[in-house]
């Protein structure tokens, strides 16, 4: 186990040591629990940015803004809270936060999974393109704002403007919804959705407060930030919608649908 005490180091030095330790551990093929432990983080900003090795990292305490940004493949456990922009642009890996997360938690993640045991602030999952975010508490204003893919699961309730201008992806909420954002719509669960929820929660070993089949599902109405008409003018929105519906029926999975404007 590598222990890094943040109290006497500036953030650049902390992150340089973290990345070096991660690289070394992976080269040596080290296995085991808690390979790297960061102590005394004191809610400072930019901790753990740029870790691109599949190591286990525990941050003992709270982290500030942009914690674990630009990471690929680590398994991270933060025992306190995190500030704004947690796990920004995550490519893969697993993130767990025991406390609350600030605004834009999981912004622009491409893949990987994030679990927040407390509440998430405003705009969680903003412009996420893949992966999953699970919030066990309540989600703040505009959760899933402008999301383009992936899955956002809220086990508590969601504040105003849920899914504001979302373009794609899915939001599942167990509790109450204050209001829906523009271009977001509620829809029925499809075949496989309940299994997907159960699977994601299972990965995090989190119990669902309700049966997976009872979650409310929200998707994009795809009218605001999508061209209603392709540049060639060949495919109008309704036609595209029809083709999409057929595609869904054909393979039963929204995510793999593509249609070609040529």
């Amino acid at each position: 186990m590598v222990q890094i005490d943040a109290s006497e180091l500036d953030v650049r030095a902390i992150n340089t040591r973290l990345r070096a330790a991660a690289e070394r551990l992976c080269e040596n093929g080290a296995q085991g629990e808690e390979q790297i432990v960061l102590t005394n983080p004191d809610a400072r900003h930019n901790l753990g940015v740029g870790v691109v090795h599949p190591v286990k990292l525990t941050i003992q305490g709270s982290a500030g803004y942009f914690c674990m940004g630009l990471c690929d493949s680590p398994t991270v456990h933060v025992t306190g809270n995190v500030g704004w922009g947690f796990a920004d642009n995550l490519l893969s890996g697993a993130m767990e936060v025991d406390g609350n997360a600030g605004a834009v938690c999981g912004v622009a993640i491409r893949d990987g999974r994030i679990l927040v045991h407390g509440n998430v602030g405003s705009r969680a999952g903003q412009v996420m393109k893949g992966g999953s975010i699970v919030c066990r508490g309540d989600a703040g204003y505009r959760a899933g704002s402008m999301m383009m893919g992936g899955v956002l699961i809220v086990l508590g309730s969601a504040a105003e403007a849920l899914g504001e201008f979302m373009m794609d992806g899915e939001i599942y909420v167990a509790g109450a919804i204050a209001s829906l954002g523009q271009d977001a719509v509620q829809t029925d669960l499809r075949d496989g959705d309940a299994e997907k929820i159960a699977d994601i929660l299972g990965q995090h070993r989190v119990d669902s407060p309700i049966a997976p089949g009872q979650f409310k599902k929200f998707i994009s109405d795809q009218r605001a930030l999508r061209y209603q008409e392709y540049e060639s003018g060949e495919l109008l929105f309704d036609e595209a919608q029809e083709q999409k519906t057929e595609a869904v029926t054909a393979d039963g999975n929204r995510d793999v649908m593509t249609f070609d404007a040529d």
Binding site: A43, R44, H45, G80, N81, G99, G102, R123, G140, Y141
Partner: protein, 321 residues
Amino acid sequence: MCGIAGIVYKAEAGACGRALLNMLCGCQHRGPDSTGLAVYGEATDGLVFRLFLDADLSHDSGNWPARLQRVQDVLCDHTIDIRDTWHDNEFAMITCDQQSGIPGAADIQTISYAIEETPGVEIFSAGYSLHVIKDVGTADDLDRKFDCAPFIGTHGIGHVRLATESDVNPSTSHPFWAYGFNDVAIVHNGQITNYFKLKRLLQQRGYRFRTENDSELIAVYLADKMTHGQSMDDALAQSLDELDGTFSFLVATPEGVGYAKDRIGAKPMVVCETDEFVAVASEEVSLQQILGHQTIPCFEPYPGTTRTWSRSMQASLTSAR
């Protein structure tokens, strides 16, 4: 950016100066330009004026004693006796004697405006318990210059500034005293975009402004409402509708501290409550400075909300309508 901080002690007065300085040190990265505190000590029976004697930024130290003397003359003209005067270069404090009739809000406004007729003199604060201490530089600089750490107070607010809207000098530093209204101060992180419109409205009601800073508007705007009988809760709730722009701001009166956060949630603010106090700051990193590097239960209030913490801790929550 800018960073804000606030603390309200639940039972007895606490080490308010030290706590606020530590919180501001923790978020100095949000604003290195200037630092300031508005702290509330035990209420006195006489008015206390905190003065800045170089408001014209002439930096001519020869002027300062004469300017202070003129302020003292103005107070004499208003039949106010001076108990004590402290003076360190361009910063001064005058403590007045108890008056036969304690000056009311209208009198304080008249006296304040009269004092500021003196060229180069600016009042940083006036009141029975409020002290506004602010200058360019960091929290450490402020403490070295004014020795604010030992200040014992019931509550207070503080600010580190990254200048975006106006000059960097002591006058445009936060906190802003609500010019003309005793014992009201604010700190603000954000921009008020309907500043000129609201400022004109308030000027038409006879209020004066000292700076071109949008945050000064919030102080006068709220003090005007509270002077006309509104509670702090109501004034804050209305500010969500009437102030345009991005903001997380704190307002302080002798009764306590309140916040308002804009509807988009563009500016951060976290809250932590312990048995002894409620602390508010832009970032958790500030709270860590006073809570001893532990995992603390702090939360970020939702956009479009307001809340007040009175010294008797009857907190109330108002949501955006």
